[in-house]
Assembly symmetry: C2
Homo-oligomer: 222 residues x 2
């Protein structure tokens, strides 16, 4: 089952290796990079490199192109995918980041909507404009919240070939499997795995829960 | 004249001390933190602490509350202000960050619009919603682009008592002084100062240019 584990705190880098073969990838977040440092983030990448899983760096980039390029440059060759906000738009920003990542054989992943209630204040109201940006910038993947399957459905309908990554499973309230059933390609789980006393067992149990929902063994969520 | 110097690359920390008494503050950006590391960012804070200038950390935060709190926590006590994006909304995000910063006596600064052309794709179209978020979250300051004085004017009209910080002066095309004249409280200059062979002389020359415009010695920009 397609599960990505979010490292938002500087956990033992070796955990990335131990998760190999169990999950589909890891996603390293900004606070983990700040606290763990650049060398820790590279060590996690090397540990995760013992299998074929995705290595995604989630700085939630949202700046002008110049600043975003400076931010990702130290991670090129270590991470396969980089998350940025679609909200910042193309010219002078995401267009430059996309060219830079293309040039280095890395993938861009754009946030289309978020998992918390406040996403309704602005982000979700601007979804039509956001989708125009995604259309034009043409990233490899999109981030859409597991907590709101209807948005995943709209994005899946419009962007048939793009990967959809869904955070919000676990601590934020969405149950495993429902985002996949709504059209997501990966579900992202953080604290429920990295904060567990046995992270591998926690990951396996989430995968079982995903399987049950995706195979239709669980009734539609209301 | 109210000038803030942006450090987007890990320049010598001592530059922050040398700029004391000349400029009104420094702003340290995400790529500088990534490349220089947490200890470098704290060293810059200590160097800047030799005067009363603002010390702003510009991670362009745009995440759920939990992740943003984890991101700023290592900088509490070192930086006075923290920049986040207003487009992420309140509940579960900026509300939590605001409470956290209030509790620690630190200031929140929210981006309302950006300096690059792509800001028109989504950000500027959502300005009414953005202003609602700013109204409700009630930050100390707002970031608005020097490259588009009309947006500064709209924000100044609506938020009379909030500080407005304007990037986009210098390398991004806006000339010194015009954002101030449109209603900004501070202009932010990065590369034109940090990349100069004599950063102090560059800062002084920008301040002179600001003075000339603000005192009305230069005709209105078209």
């Amino acid at each position: 089952m397609p599960l990505i584990v979010a490292f938002d705190e500087p956990v033992e880098a070796e955990l990335a290796a131990r998760l190999c073969g169990i999950v589909d990838g890891i996603k390293v977040g900004l606070p983990a990079v700040i606290r763990g440092g650049l060398e820790w983030a590279r060590e996690v990448s090397r540990a995760a490199g013992s299998c074929e899983g995705l290595r995604i760096l989630d700085l939630k980039l949202a700046d002008i192109g110049h600043v975003m390029r400076l931010s990702v440059e130290p991670f090129i060759g270590y991470y396969d995918g980089f998350i940025a906000h679609s909200f910042v738009g193309g010219e002078g920003s995401l267009d430059e980041l996309k060219s830079y990542l293309d040039h280095h054989g890395a993938r861009l992943v754009l946030v289309a909507s978020m998992s918390h209630p406040g996403s309704r204040d602005v982000y979700d109201r601007a979804l039509d404009f956001i989708m125009e940006v995604i259309e034009r910038v043409d990233p490899w993947g999109i981030v859409a919240p597991a907590t709101r399957p209807s948005i995943i459905g709209r994005l899946r309908a419009r962007f048939a070939s793009k990967k959809i990554l869904s955070p919000g499973v676990g601590a934020q309230g969405a149950r495993p499997g429902y985002a996949l059933r709504a059209g997501a390609d990966y579900e992202i789980v953080g604290r429920a795995i990295t904060g567990a006393s046995d992270p591998l067992a926690a990951a396996k149990s989430i995968i079982e829960a995903q399987e049950e929902v995706v195979r239709g063994g669980v009734e539609e969520d209301g």
